[in-house]
Symmetry: C2
Subunit: 209 residues, 2 copies
DNA sequence: CCCCTCCTGTACCGCCGGTACAGTTTTCAG
DNA sequence: CTGAAAACTGTACCGGCGGTACAGGAGGGG
């Protein structure tokens, strides 16, 4: 019972790394069992088929993702009561966390799966959709707290702004991976931070050019 | 000679649609030849292997992509001499083009390939990298034209800002695809437009909240 | 008429996802 | 300590797929 969970976790660990490097279609079950040191029968004892592996992988990834955001933004809230400052601080902490990743961000499973949509069943696509909607709610909540205190200097939709956080993260990951420049992702997050700052704070006085 | 090119193009058309829906690993050569109405031998006459298909597909995609940006932003430049206004107009035109896509954006091959990196050889990864660098140069050039005329209201790196265009596009595609909300991508482009506008234009006077 | 391009047909290989199922070891609750 | 359930292993097999090899044919241009 306990051992089963451990093996399952090991399979998921190996699979996650492989999938983020090669995609689902490029990851064979045979290589997973070779690296895990398990037999094929053992694999199919834990997962009925590849689709169920994907399901488990995605759910675990999303949970972990949510946990990380919870930690970062709750740390930020601990450090200041102001909703804008804590959001900006959260983005700063996030960018630091991202730039500390030794080999750059390994890739986002949600994005990976959306580029394979037809390979998976509706349940997985629905899970994926809900993950993105959860991001929208999360950042939307924080932004609404800000809007309640600070005036918006341009008329923007709060949900769309919340989506922009996800956009920049997902897009930054793509750029970082493609360019093989780990820093790009962190820089993009800071750029987004500048946008949020400008949207809510008066601009520093500047000489007219 | 002529006929060969036509068949090749037909294969690439079918392949592109399939790859954007299912990813490379999820697209079989057999299904491509079935839909193209060609035999396996015929396929391998045109492409030595799947990797070469990917190469041709990516090159064609990038060329087309460049052409579209050329058209949009040259149209924008035709309509106004001001570099900022023409950039903002270009983003507007881009968002309109994106929201006019009947089934939403089909997906970006560059992003698709970056999520499969290990499956392809270095040449493809280099091509992909160069495509992203070309985006950086393209948008960077336009932004530098703006900076030459308008003061930047926040200290941001121009190349990082140029990358933000790519980030928001790539991220917006991921969100749009995952959420199955075609509009999200266009909205994200407009949100980016707002950011650029704020960076260069004085904010409209607002009552202090 | 002949050659070259552009294919078709056939046969084959090895890998992979998946199935089936019988048998064995490990674990833990009672 | 024991027995049943959990957690596997081993073996054999299937069909699809990527890829190879190679022979041959249609059709157009010089």
């Amino acid at each position: 019972m306990r051992k089963g969970e451990e093996t399952r976790t090991r399979i998921l660990d190996v699979a996650e790394a492989a999938v983020l490097q090669k995609g689902f279609g490029g990851t064979s079950i045979e290589e997973l069992i070779a690296e895990t040191g398990i037999t094929k029968s053992g694999f199919f004892y834990h997962f009925r088929d590849k689709n169920e592996l994907a399901k488990a992988l995605l759910n675990r990834y999303i949970e972990n993702d949510e946990r990380i955001y919870d930690e970062i933004f709750s740390r930020a809230r601990d450090l200041t009561d102001d909703p804008l400052q804590s959001f900006l601080l959260g983005l700063k902490l996030l960018s630091e966390l991202l730039s500390d990743l030794p080999n750059g961000h390994p890739g986002c499973l949600v994005a990976g799966i959306c580029y394979y949509e037809r390979l998976f069943d509706r349940e997985i696509q629905e899970t994926n959709r809900n993950a993105v909607l959860a991001w929208r709610r999360r950042f939307g909540r924080m932004l609404r707290d800000i809007v309640a205190v600070y005036p918006l200097r341009e008329p923007v939709d709060v949900d769309q702004l919340a989506d922009m956080v996800s956009s920049v993260l997902e897009g930054g990951i793509v750029l970082s991976k493609t360019l093989k420049e780990p820093n790009t992702l962190a820089e993009q997050v800071l750029m987004l931070r500048t946008f949020v700052k400008m949207l809510f704070l008066p601009v520093a006085a500047m000489p007219r050019g």
